[in-house]
């Protein structure tokens, strides 16, 4: 008996170490194609043209107007589509869950949302050009119905802030629907009944009971939408051909040829993006945990 106890004690560290061999291919892959590239950019952002360590790139990030503008434009577009897509997606999810619409509409909407949230990139851009471009279907429709040419008589331009935001919305609010529908299902019938018995109106129920319960989930999803739009490149590139200088487009230009004439600054620009994405992911998972307290 002492023998076995001794044996297991001795062999434990060895088998512990051996157990990790089973997952080593995964870690090797992750290191080669995910960690190393990220670390390369990270180190690069602290390196000057002579290969010396420097903070100058990061400091310059906050001084270069074109870079700050690019970040700011990206943040504005992402925030606008996250808030707009979030509110609209919530209302849609509401209408098919607790809003009292017939059941088949719900499954139709969920299916369509699954497709639309995955429909992005070049085809999406082309679809919106066919819809709201200079000769687009809706543009022509508006001109025929209201005798207003969107491009000549209004400020509208598909290849601008609002145009790109409108296009992003096509994959943003379906994502919100997909996340919010289960959350709305989690609202318990008893809560509503209890509120009604205590004499609450519908508005009171929503403002004092349902929305506070849903709020972490709503905010968390909006942060997810923010990140979703912030990292997008292909849709914007296909739509505007690189003319609208959001941060991903600027980074793309930097990869194609060092347009900043400072590789380190390019790396710093990329790191700034990673940091913003990381903050939003942390915010999302924090709010997600909060929402699990009440929903499910």
């Amino acid at each position: 008996m002492t023998q076995t106890a001794l044996n297991s004690k001795v062999s434990l560290p060895a088998s512990d170490w051996k157990k990790w061999i089973g997952v080593s291919p995964f870690f090797l892959f992750a290191i080669l194609f995910l960690v190393l590239p990220s670390v390369r950019l990270f180190i690069g952002s602290f390196t000057d043209n002579e290969g010396q360590f420097t903070f100058a790139n990061l400091l310059q990030l906050f001084q270069e107007k074109s870079i700050l503008d690019a970040y700011w434009l990206s943040i504005r577009i992402s925030a606008a589509t996250a808030i707009g897509g979030g509110i609209f997606g919530f209302l849609l999810a509401y209408s098919v869950t607790v809003g009292g619409l017939p059941k088949p509409l719900r499954s139709a909407l969920i299916t369509f949302s699954g497709v639309a949230s995955n429909f992005a990139g070049v085809p999406l851009a082309f679809a919106f050009i066919a819809t709201l471009g200079r000769t687009g279907f809706v543009t022509a429709l508006v001109e025929n119905l209201f005798h207003v040419n969107l491009y000549k008589q209004t400020e509208f331009d598909l290849y601008s802030f609002w145009g790109l935001s409108l296009t992003y919305m096509y994959f943003q609010f379906p994502l919100m629907v997909l996340i919010m529908a289960p959350a709305l299902d989690g609202l318990k019938r008893e809560w509503r009944e209890a509120a009604e018995i205590l004499g609450a109106s519908t508005v009171q129920y929503w403002l004092r009971v349902a929305l506070p319960v849903l709020l972490p989930s709503i905010l968390g999803s909006m942060i997810l939408l923010f990140g979703n739009a912030f990292g997008a490149y292909a849709t914007a590139y296909a739509l505007t051909g690189g003319r609208l200088g959001i941060i991903t487009i600027q980074i793309g230009a930097q990869i194609r040829g060092d347009v900043l004439h400072n590789p380190g600054l390019g790396y710093a620009m990329a790191m700034g993006m990673v940091i913003i994405m990381a903050i939003s992911l942390v915010g999302y998972s924090w709010l997600q945990r909060k929402s699990e307290r009440w929903l499910r």
């Binding site: 990790w20 089973g22 619409l101 429909f119 279907f137």
Partner: protein
């Protein structure tokens, strides 16, 4: 009774939101189809589709993208299934770090990933502290870029594939299956290929289809690594043609629909959130 209670029974605002949403969904699709059918003046027809599908360049790039997707799916499965299995069976302490890694692609978007990949693999890899070249830069030869892009796609699909596989393994009793197979004398390879894989095939299929949806029209990695894939082809076609890109865009939408429909069929409609925008 009074008119108000009757109005309350019809969910007026719900209908408004739903109709608005439906319009938002359908109008761009309708506009695209409508446009794509008007290639010949005064005639509604499928000429744009015929022309688009006939283009040998389309066939080449589309087949290439499908091959990339298939390779990505196979590599992901080989990489992820044994890992997730091993974590469930023997190494629960690795779960946190592996889950953290599978979430990293959300923090490192495609454009950043390709930036890093190009910077790392566009110079030769030397044996440390010597000038002996171990490997030519991957970006300089065809097989090299193929390896790079498949690796990149595996990374982009990692969150979805891992979650699918992990969810699939949660529903089957991995431990009992393994013990049963071991007592019958099966090797590790046999256990994974002939016992575990068939038991999680629904999860595998949904992960594979999501990966397919991500890869087949992907533009960012493909254009920066300079591979002849469908995404960059469609983008270039859009620069000098009008009707064919619209036709292909609508076809892409239908393809996405088919993929998502299949996923819903296999999983009962839980996993459908992806994104490579």
């Amino acid at each position: 009774m009074n008119i108000f209670s009757r109005i309350r029974r019809i969910p007026f605002w719900s209908w408004i939101w739903f109709i608005l949403g439906a319009l938002y969904f359908i109008l761009p699709l309708y506009a695209t189809v409508n446009f794509s059918l008007r290639m010949e003046r005064g005639v509604i027809g499928f000429k744009a589709y015929a022309k688009a599908f006939e283009d040998p360049e389309f066939i080449r790039t589309f087949l290439y993208s499908n091959a990339l997707a298939l390779t990505t799916i196979i590599v992901s499965i080989i990489l992820i299934v044994p890992t997730a299995y091993w974590i469930r069976l023997r190494l629960p302490e690795a779960r946190r770090i592996v889950e953290f890694i599978t979430l990293l692609p959300f923090v490192v978007p495609a454009i950043i990933l390709v930036f890093g990949l190009i910077r790392i693999y566009s110079s030769p890899i030397n044996i440390p502290f010597t000038d002996t070249t171990l490997l030519q830069p991957l970006t300089t030869f065809e097989v090299g870029t193929d390896i790079l892009i498949v690796a990149g796609y595996v990374v982009l699909g990692l969150p979805y594939m891992y979650r699918s596989v992990d969810t699939g393994m949660r529903t089957v009793d991995v431990r009992t299956l393994t013990e049963a197979a071991q007592s019958l004398g099966a090797s590790w390879f046999t256990i994974i290929v002939r016992v575990i894989l068939p038991n999680i095939r629904a999860a595998l299929l949904s992960g594979a289809l999501l990966t397919f949806a991500i890869v087949v029209g992907e533009v960012t990695l493909a254009s920066f690594l300079g591979v002849p894939a469908f995404g960059p082809y469609l983008f270039l076609l859009g620069q000098h043609r009008a009707y064919e890109p619209a036709a292909l865009s609508f076809a892409s939408f239908l393809l996405t629909w088919v993929v998502m429909g299949l996923i819903q069929l296999f999983t009962g409609g839980q996993e459908q959130i992806a994104g490579a925008h």
